[in-house]
């Protein structure tokens, strides 16, 4: 199934006011900067519209919109045109900043947004699973990172110590 069609559905949700700004993260987002690597789903960071009178951000309206149009759910995903999509509201200031500073691009003429390389690295560092460390190493090796920008993000979000630990463990001696 073409991801372009999936993005068209998400753009329609945005046009109809179900969601605000969104940005692709995870492995698909990383593919914007790196060579493609296998993934089974799409992570979409999204600013859901607030429920009236509530300050709580909830993805329930997104799932209601999609399931009422026949899309099925699979655990935490909604399968949109063949692709399982996970909608992730920002969990902290880093996620919010990443969403706001996402880069606009196009997929076969369909407008979309991707989280910056430096934010993807910071988010991977925060999540800190084995596959996140692999992705960070791919970013470092690719040379696409803006070191100053990354440093500012890591400082702003209290991740410098984690970055130093990562460097000692994975980067020392490889420079």
């Amino acid at each position: 199934m073409a991801m372009k069609t999936t993005l068209e559905v998400i753009n329609r949700m945005q046009a109809e006011g179900v969601i605000g700004k969104y940005a692709i993260g995870g492995a698909v987002g990383a593919t914007f900067y790196l060579e493609p690597s296998a993934t089974l789903d799409i992570d979409i960071f999204v600013a859901p519209k607030n429920t009236q009178g509530s300050s709580l951000l909830t993805v329930a309206p997104i799932y209601d919109y999609l399931t009422s149009r026949g899309y099925k759910t699979e655990k935490e995903h909604v399968v949109i045109e063949g692709w399982p999509v996970q909608f992730l509201p920002p969990g902290d200031a880093l996620d919010e900043e990443a969403l706001q500073q996402a880069v606009e691009t196009e997929v076969e003429g369909v407008r979309t947004w991707v989280i910056t390389a430096e934010h993807l690295v910071a988010m991977a560092l925060k999540t800190a699973r084995a596959k996140d460390f692999t992705r960070i190493l791919q970013f470092v090796e690719s040379g696409v990172l803006d070191a100053d920008k990354l440093d500012q993000i890591l400082t702003r979000h209290g991740l410098l110590e984690k970055w130093e630990q990562f460097g000692v463990k994975f980067l020392r001696g490889n420079a």
Binding site: E35, P36, T39, E106
Partner: protein, 54 residues
């Protein structure tokens, strides 16, 4: 590191750089193919048999 191994690693790095330089749309098409293959492997009866053995 042997000369041969160095050549292999250089070749891999060059391939990764060539793939990374493709337009996003092209890379997503490759990603879709990778996903289809992963799903096919996951569905394979051989893989399921192997899984049960572990």
């Amino acid at each position: 590191m042997s000369h041969w191994m160095r050549k292999v690693l250089e070749s891999k790095r060059a391939t990764r750089q060539r793939l990374a330089a493709l337009p996003f749309s092209e890379k997503l098409k490759l990603l879709e193919k990778l996903r289809d293959r992963s799903l096919a492997i996951a569905r394979s009866p051989l893989r399921r048999q192997q899984h049960h053995k572990v």
